[in-house]
C-alpha cells in the first residue's frame, strides 16, 4: 500500500472538506442517545436480549439510502479483528467501550463516515454526526434527521416528563451531546486559557483535553461540550455551545495576531524547530508528535509555513495512533518499534507533501 492510499484510507472522507473556521475548529460533533422500548439497557442485558437490536438495524436501515448520508452499512463488532476495531476507535467512529466489551455490538456507517450509529454501546443507539470545522447547527440538523428516520421504524423509550430515557442519568432528556474540537495554541502559549476555562465551566460547558491523561491537553487540542441534557431544548443547548465557541475562536485569532506582531521571532523559531525535528527524527513518542504537529499546524494557519496542507494535523493525529501504525506495518509492534515507525511515517508524510505538492 502506498502512503498516499494509506492516508486516503485512514482519514474519513468528510475530513477532506474544509469547514467554516477550520483554522481553529477542527471538527463538530453531535450525538443523540436513544433506547428501544421494552429491551433492557446494554449495561445489564445479556447477549440474547440485545441481539434483536442490531437485527432491527440490519432489517430497516443497512443497505438503505438516507437522503443526506447515502447508503448505510452495518458492521458487527464480532466480524472485526482487534486491530480493525482499534482503527475504528482511532477514527472516532466507535468508542473504546463498544470495541472492548459490548455484547451484540455493531456500528451503522455512512459512506463518507460522517454518520455513525453505535449499536449496543451504553445505550441501544448512539447517533453521531461528525462534520469538519465549525458546523454545530448542521450537525444537529443531520443527527435529528437520522433520529426521525429511525423513529419511523422503531419505538424509542420516551417519557413526557423525562424525555428520551438513557442508561446514564447524565444523558436523559434530549440525549444530546454536542462538542467541538478546537486547536488553541496561542491561548495556551499566552497563558490566557487558564483564566478562561473556569468561566466556561460556570456556563455549564465542559472542556477536556484530547487524548490527554487527566486534564492535560495534548497538541493544544481541546474538546468543548455541553454538560446538561435535560431542561433545555436541543437548539438551545447547541446555541449555548456555539456562542461560547465563537467567542473562543475570536480570542484565539486575537492571541495569534498578538503573538505574531509582538514575538514574531520566538514564534517562528518554535515552529521551525518543530518542523526540523519532525523532518529528521528517527524516534518519536506520540506525546511529542502531538505537540510538534500542533506547532506545524499553527505555522500553516499563520502563513509562516507554506506548501504543507493544513489537514496534516488531523491526518497524522489518526495515522500515528498504535492501531494505524500496526496496520501500516502489517504486524504487531512494540512501543519502541512504534516510536520508530511513527518518526518514519511523519518524515514520509512531510516529504510526500514536498514532492507531490499536497495530498488530494
Amino acid at each position: 500500500m502506498t502512503l498516499h492510499s494509506f492516508i486516503q484510507n485512514a482519514t474519513s472522507p468528510w475530513m477532506k472538506n474544509e469547514g467554516p473556521d477550520s483554522d481553529i475548529v477542527i471538527s463538530s460533533r453531535v450525538r443523540l442517545a436513544r433506547n428501544l422500548e421494552g429491551i433492557t439497557f446494554p449495561i445489564i442485558a445479556n447477549e440474547e436480549e440485545l441481539s434483536p437490536v442490531p437485527e432491527k438495524v440490519e432489517a430497516h436501515f443497512a443497505g438503505h439510502s438516507h437522503k443526506r448520508f447515502g447508503e448505510l452499512s452495518l458492521i458487527k463488532m464480532n466480524d472485526l479483528t482487534d486491530n480493525e476495531k482499534r482503527i475504528l476507535v482511532e477514527k472516532h467512529l466507535i468508542s473504546p467501550n463498544l470495541s472492548g466489551k459490548s455484547k451484540a455490538g455493531a456500528v451503522l456507517l455512512s459512506e463518507d463516515e460522517s454518520l455513525s450509529v453505535m449499536v449496543n454501546e451504553e445505550d441501544h443507539f448512539r447517533i453521531q454526526c461528525l462534520l469538519p470545522g465549525f458546523q454545530l447547527q448542521e450537525g444537529l440538523k443531520y443527527a435529528n434527521d437520522m433520529d426521525d428516520w429511525m423513529e419511523e421504524k422503531l419505538d424509542f423509550a420516551y417519557d413526557q416528563r423525562r424525555g428520551y430515557l438513557t442508561s446514564c442519568p447524565t444523558n436523559v432528556g434530549t440525549g444530546l451531546r454536542s462538542s467541538v474540537m478546537m486547536h488553541l495554541p496561542a491561548l495556551v502559549m499566552t497563558n490566557q486559557l487558564n483564566r478562561i476555562l473556569p468561566a466556561i465551566n460556570q456556563l455549564g460547558l465542559v472542556v477536556r483535553g484530547i487524548y490527554g491523561e487527566g486534564s492535560e491537553a495534548l497538541g493544544n487540542l481541546f474538546q468543548l461540550s455541553n454538560q446538561t441534557t435535560l431542561g433545555e431544548s436541543e437548539s438551545e443547548i447547541v446555541e449555548d455551545l456555539r456562542s461560547v465557541v465563537s467567542q473562543l475562536v475570536e480570542r484565539e485569532r486575537a492571541a495569534r495576531e498578538q503573538l505574531l506582531t509582538q514575538s514574531t521571532n520566538i514564534v517562528e523559531d518554535r515552529i521551525y524547530r518543530s518542523l526540523g525535528i519532525l523532518s529528521y527524527s528517527r524516534r518519536m513518542e506520540s506525546k511529542e508528535a502531538m505537540q510538534r504537529l500542533s506547532d506545524i499546524r499553527l505555522g500553516i494557519d499563520t502563513g509562516i509555513i507554506k506548501g504543507i496542507d493544513a489537514k496534516i494535523l488531523n491526518e497524522l493525529m489518526v495515522l500515528t495512533q498504535p492501531g494505524f501504525l500496526q496496520h501500516y506495518a502489517g504486524e504487531a509492534l512494540t512501543a519502541e518499534q512504534r516510536d520508530q515507525r511513527r518518526a518514519t511515517l511523519i518524515r514520509e508524510r512531510l516529504t510526500l507533501e514536498e514532492h507531490d505538492g499536497g495530498v488530494e
Partner: protein, 180 residues
C-alpha cells in the same frame, strides 16, 4: 505518585470529587483503572461514573427521614430489570427505561443536581409516538374537566366533554370499534 489501588505503578489518572464541600482525591494507574472495568483510554466514563456514584449516594442519604423509611427506599427495586436503587447508585446507570418510573420519587433531586436545576424535559418530542402522548394528555385533561362538570351538575357541558373524550379515544384506536 504511586497508584492508590496497587501501590506499585505510577498513578496516571488524577481526579478530585467534592461533595458538600468534602474533597476526595483519586490517584490511579491505567492498569488498575482498566481492571475496575469502568475506564478505557480515550473515554471519560471512569471519572464521570465515579463522580456520579458519589452524587447519587449523597442524594439517597440526604432526606433525614425515619431510618426505616430510608432503608426501604434504599432497597427499592425495578420490577422490570431487577436493579435496586443501591446498585444504580453504585454504577451510576439505569438497567432499563422502566427504572425511571421505579425510582421516580428519588430522581428529581438527583436530576436537578446533574442538570443545572432541571428535572423536566422541554426538548424534542418523537413524531410518531409523541402524537399519541399528546392525545393521551388531552384525554386526561378532559377527564378531569368531566369530573368537575359532573360535580358542578353541568350535565350538558359534561355530555359534550364526554363525546370529545370518546372521539379522541377513537382516534387512538384507529378505525376500531366503539370505546366504552
Amino acid at each position: 505518585m504511586l497508584c492508590q489501588e496497587c501501590q506499585e505503578r505510577e498513578a496516571t489518572l488524577h481526579f478530585t470529587k467534592i461533595i458538600n464541600g468534602e474533597k476526595t482525591e483519586f490517584h490511579i494507574c491505567d492498569v488498575c483503572a482498566k481492571e475496575r472495568g469502568d475506564y478505557t483510554p480515550g473515554s471519560n466514563s471512569f471519572s464521570i461514573h465515579q463522580l456520579l456514584s458519589g452524587l447519587l449516594d449523597t442524594a439517597g442519604q440526604q432526606k433525614p427521614s425515619r431510618e426505616i423509611g430510608a432503608q426501604q427506599r434504599a432497597e427499592k427495586q425495578c420490577p422490570s430489570c431487577g436493579m435496586t436503587y443501591r446498585q444504580f447508585a453504585e454504577i451510576g446507570r439505569f438497567g432499563c427505561a422502566d427504572c425511571y418510573e421505579s425510582f421516580d420519587e428519588k430522581l428529581d433531586p438527583v436530576l436537578r443536581r446533574i442538570h443545572g436545576g432541571n428535572a423536566q424535559h422541554t426538548g424534542k418530542v418523537p413524531k410518531r409516538k409523541g402524537k399519541d402522548l399528546h392525545v393521551y394528555k388531552q384525554i386526561e385533561d378532559l377527564k378531569q374537566k368531566l369530573q368537575q362538570l359532573i360535580a358542578e351538575e353541568e350535565f350538558e357541558a359534561a355530555a359534550t366533554t364526554r363525546d370529545e373524550i370518546r372521539s379522541l379515544e377513537h382516534s387512538l384506536k384507529g378505525k376500531g370499534g366503539e370505546s366504552s
